[in-house]
Amino acid sequence: MHFSPVPYLDPGSGSFIIQILIAVLLGLGVALRASWSKIKTYFGIKPKPEEEDDDSGDA
């Protein structure tokens, strides 16, 4: 019996590489957003409440 950890879909080399790059960029964006809200808080600007995630209700 072969218990394969290999995905049955071909993820595609290019798709594989590009999503890592995009995810790094998006990670940077998240970090920037966090610092920006810190700066705003420093100057007394209240950060906007985070949008309700539709997942949070029953998570």
């Binding site: 072969h2 049955y8 798709s15």
Partner: protein
């Protein structure tokens, strides 16, 4: 006689497959998938997704597996009332299917699972909502691994939605040609330049397509990425934001004005509605096809009688409006779909057996053909006896059909620009042609009009 067989659309996944036994649909889970299935059930993910109407419910059964050597378990999923395909969905249906897929993936990641595929064909509309029907789509998430279904998601959902939104809604039909979704290089070429200024479309389609070309002959090991779960969640959220911003508003279509450009009086319209409602209540069909259903006014009359009603129309704007009504009124038994009756969905895919044709998904207990016969007989030149054959092959029992005579202004419009080569298109000609395949059960002149409504029973 006991009849078993593996379903022809279910062969790619080594984790298991669908089979039917005596008309009941089962899913065999193979031993190779046992750990992932156990995680799905034990982590609480299954319960959460079913509660949120995002995953088809199932029960574990004692049914014998179809192939016993690899089998781990057999489950019986809830039966989907009608299988539809992405090339039959309106813009918002495809968008909701995409958002359901991403919502499932986000919930899965929270419980250390991930979708191993993101095929639009794994989503169906059940009780008015887009829901995943493939219980075996989940795998145990391994930290550092990118989303294996990213490419498939972009091809099945993002590319066609972007094309429909930015170019033309009819480009959904590319999904009929490309069974594994729209190739990203094609989407990139067809999308207007301005989409390169949209971060989501720039990255997930344009740059993605470029990377596919660049690395097409390179081998990349899946284990070597080190992509964090946070980064993966960021990727899913980026796809979600990109899709949420895609919109489509039918141009040149006045919302809600569909029936205002007809020649019905209110009393004719109401009379027709009442007749459809009465006949549906009397004959109690379980499954109805409304062929040429427009925005679904008459579909709702059969649905009100308890029948699951599939409302087909050629106009993507009408289907879009119909679907929005389903959503806003939380209707559970109307399914609007885009279909050209003169060229209905063929059977597609591997060995022409993966996706069923329109024809193979019938016949139904009752079909409605209201204000449609003149389009088929006159605009599409189909002779009346062939029309009778067509409807007979799709109706197991009942046909509610409206005859629209030549004197009707709608038919006059169709004949306005062409020669009248239809000497047999008369009420008598219609009744003679249809009598060979149907018993004319009821004949009702529609009040304040020249039209006639028939209830026919298949011979």
């Amino acid at each position: 006689m006991r009849k078993t067989g593996q379903l022809s659309a279910s062969f790619r996944d080594p984790g298991g497959f669908l089979f039917s036994d005596n008309g009941i649909l089962y899913r065999q889970i193979n031993r190779a998938y046992s750990k992932d299935y156990a995680r799905l059930m034990d982590s609480g993910l299954y319960d959460k997704l079913v509660k949120a109407s995002l995953l088809i419910p199932h029960v574990e059964t004692d049914q014998l597996p179809a192939t016993s050597d690899a089998a781990f378990k057999v489950i019986q999923p809830e039966r989907v009332p009608f299988i539809s395909y992405p090339y039959e969905w309106s813009f918002s249906q495809l968008k909701d299917a995409a958002l359901a897929t991403l919502s499932i993936q986000k919930r899965a990641l929270k419980l250390d699972m991930s979708l191993k595929d993101a095929s639009a064909y794994n989503i169906q509309f059940v009780r008015g909502k887009a829901i995943l029907i493939d219980t075996l789509s989940f795998e145990i998430y391994k930290e550092g691994q990118p989303w294996v279904a990213y490419k498939q998601f972009c091809q099945h959902f993002l590319a066609p939605l972007a094309l429909m939104s930015y170019r033309d809604v009819r480009l959904s039909q590319l999904l009929r040609v490309y069974i594994d979704g729209v190739p990203l290089d094609l989407a990139s070429e067809l999308l207007p330049v301005k989409t390169k200024f949209n971060f989501g479309l720039l990255t997930h389609i344009h740059i993605h397509a470029g990377a596919q070309k660049r690395y097409s002959d390179k081998v990349v090991k899946l284990q070597t990425s080190g992509m964090s779960k946070q980064a993966l969640t960021g990727l899913i959220e980026s796809l979600e934001n990109t899709i949420k911003k895609l919109t489509w508003k039918p141009a040149g279509t006045e919302w809600g004005d569909y029936y205002e450009n007809t020649n019905y009086t209110d009393s004719a319209f109401e009379h027709k509605r009442r007749l459809v409602n009465e006949w549906a209540l009397e004959k109690k069909p379980a499954l109805v096809w409304d062929l040429g259903g427009n925005t679904g006014v008459f579909s709702r009359e059969t649905a009100a009688s308890g029948a699951f009603t599939v409302s087909f129309d050629i106009d993507p704007a009408a289907v879009e409006q119909n679907y929005r009504t389903v959503k806003s009124k939380k209707e559970q038994n109307v399914l609007p779909l885009v279909l050209d009756l003169t060229n209905p969905s063929p059977s597609l895919g591997w060995d022409n057996k993966e996706r069923d044709s329109f024809d193979a998904r019938g016949p139904v207990d009752m079909a409605l053909a209201l204000a449609v016969i003149h389009h088929l007989a006159i605009s599409n030149n189909v002779p009346l006896p062939q029309l009778a054959d067509f409807f007979a092959s799709h109706c197991r029992r009942w046909l509610v059909i409206e005859f629209v005579p030549k004197s009707d202004s709608q038919v006059q419009k169709l004949l306005g620009s062409r020669e009248d080569i239809f000497p047999n298109y008369t009420r008598e000609g219609f009744e003679t042609a249809f009598s060979s395949r149907f018993i004319l059960n009821k004949t009702e002149p529609v009040r304040d009009s020249e039209r006639t409504l028939y209830l026919m029973e298949a011979r």
